[in-house]
């Protein structure tokens, strides 16, 4: 069966026919268009290697530095804005560029943005960022702590407890995790009327 797509030869873009609702195909077409655009923008016939582009790296570094500076100055909204722009910039890297480099960059930005969200009391956003961080960087106690703090402030006490306990499985002597687990346990006792 033919897929409901149209090719625009002038813009070199593929689109899904508007009358069809096919989200999976739409995702595929979006990713294909991005890859095709990146491929067209390079000079050679094919990408030679997975080396990251030197054009984006300095811009990205500037944005991350200014975002972290804003975070240190306690300008949390500004920090969130700058770090979000940095993520958008990072996402512009071609998909064939080294995954290791891209993952490290994204994790670095997400860590800073998650902290900014926590400081700005945007806990659901912080929870989501910490969730991504934990799925890509499990062996880091800070990420367990981030997710637990977000969960605690969202009123998800059991979730917070689970995350702290999971963190302690990897780093059993981490003082921050132990302290926060005590706080969460007290909150659970209080909620249950045991305190």
């Amino acid at each position: 069966m033919a897929l409901p797509i149209t090719y625009d030869s002038a813009r070199k873009l593929i689109s899904v026919d508007s009358e069809v609702s096919y989200p999976e195909l739409q995702d595929e077409v979006t990713q294909l268009n991005k890859l095709a655009k990146d491929l067209i923008s390079i000079q050679g016939e094919i990408p030679e290697s997975a080396e990251p582009s030197n054009k984006i790296t300095p811009l990205l570094k500037n944005l991350i530095t200014s975002g972290i500076d804003a975070l240190r100055k306690k300008q949390f909204k500004d920090a969130i804005q700058k770090l979000t722009v940095a993520i958008e910039m990072q996402q512009k890297r071609a998909n064939w560029e080294s995954f290791g480099v891209q993952l490290t960059e994204l994790n670095g930005i997400l860590q800073a943005r998650c902290d900014a969200y926590i400081m700005n009391k945007q806990f659901i956003e912080a929870y989501n960022d910490a969730d991504i961080l934990l799925s890509t960087q499990v062996n880091t106690p800070d990420n367990f702590l981030r997710k637990a703090i977000a969960s605690l402030n969202l009123g998800r006490l059991e979730d917070a407890k689970v995350n702290l306990e999971r963190g302690l499985c990897f780093h059993e002597n981490d003082k921050r995790l132990i302290d926060h687990l005590n706080v969460v346990n007290r909150a659970i006792d209080l909620e249950n009327g045991d305190a």
């Binding site: 030869s9 990408p47 991504i132 799925s135 969202l154 009123g155």
Partner: protein, 246 residues
């Protein structure tokens, strides 16, 4: 055995027609061919009806549709489609490698049936064929591209997965808010349930009134209202709302 008996045996053997073995072989071969045809048809139908191990391979379908398009598709768009097809193949191969020890172990213990085991084996064979076909296609675009092409596929596969995960963040946030029944304000901060709404009461000059002024105003309004309805009864104004006291 006597000489007469030997002659009888020779006579009996010589009576068999020369066509008998030919007919025998023909019947045997025909029966085998019929059985083979029947078996292969049945097997093909079974395979055709069998639920695939993976879902639709959209990148592959997209590639073929673009390649066989009547319009002349840009070669780099075709290369991009081939790269995505290869990345999908890598993803499936990794998934198959991940589940191989578990499926093998479950099958050996009898925890899964033959049907799932055969589906898994078919998927493994299909992926091997798919990789070979992609490599052949790659060589059609540029000789010697394979050495550079294959390492990029893994990067594309992983990077796309990471982007998909990041892109899902907004939908995930809405799902969680809905699931946990949490409301957030426009600035992303939580709406605390039962939090009193703070009213800012403006005075005649447009400036906000202090709590004492608001209290006095409320008492005055209450007194006016009470005197208009029952002038004989002395009333004391209602206590101001708790939030205004703050």
């Amino acid at each position: 055995m006597s000489a007469f008996e030997e002659e009888d045996v020779i006579e009996q053997v010589s009576k068999i027609s020369v066509f008998t073995p030919l007919i025998y072989v023909t019947v045997l071969i025909t029966a085998l061919v019929l059985f083979s045809n029947f078996y292969r048809k049945r097997r093909f139908n079974e395979l055709y009806k069998r639920q695939p191990f993976f879902g639709d391979n959209l990148p592959k379908e997209l590639y073929f549709q673009l390649k066989n398009n009547n319009l002349k598709v840009n070669e780099k768009v075709l290369k991009a489609a081939l790269l995505r097809r290869g990345a999908e193949s890598i993803r499936r191969t990794i998934k198959l490698k991940e589940v191989t020890p578990f499926i093998t172990s479950l099958y050996q213990r009898g925890s899964i049936g033959d049907e799932l085991w055969e589906r898994f084996q078919t998927a493994t064979k299909l992926e091997e064929l798919e990789v070979q076909e992609i490599i052949r296609e790659t060589e059609q675009y540029k000789k010697g591209w394979v050495q550079k092409f294959v390492p990029l596929l893994q990067e594309i596969c992983f990077n796309e997965a990471l982007r998909r995960r990041y892109a899902a963040i907004e939908d995930r946030k809405l799902d969680l808010l809905d699931k946990w029944e949490i409301e957030v304000q426009d600035d992303g901060k939580l709406k605390i349930p039962n939090q009193p709404k703070i009213q800012i009461v403006q005075g005649p000059n447009g400036l906000p009134l202090t709590a004492a002024q608001v209290q006095a105003l409320a008492q005055a309004q209450a007194r006016t209202k009470a005197s208009s309805t029952s002038p004989s009864v002395t009333t004391f104004g209602p206590a101001p709302p708790e939030n205004l006291k703050k």
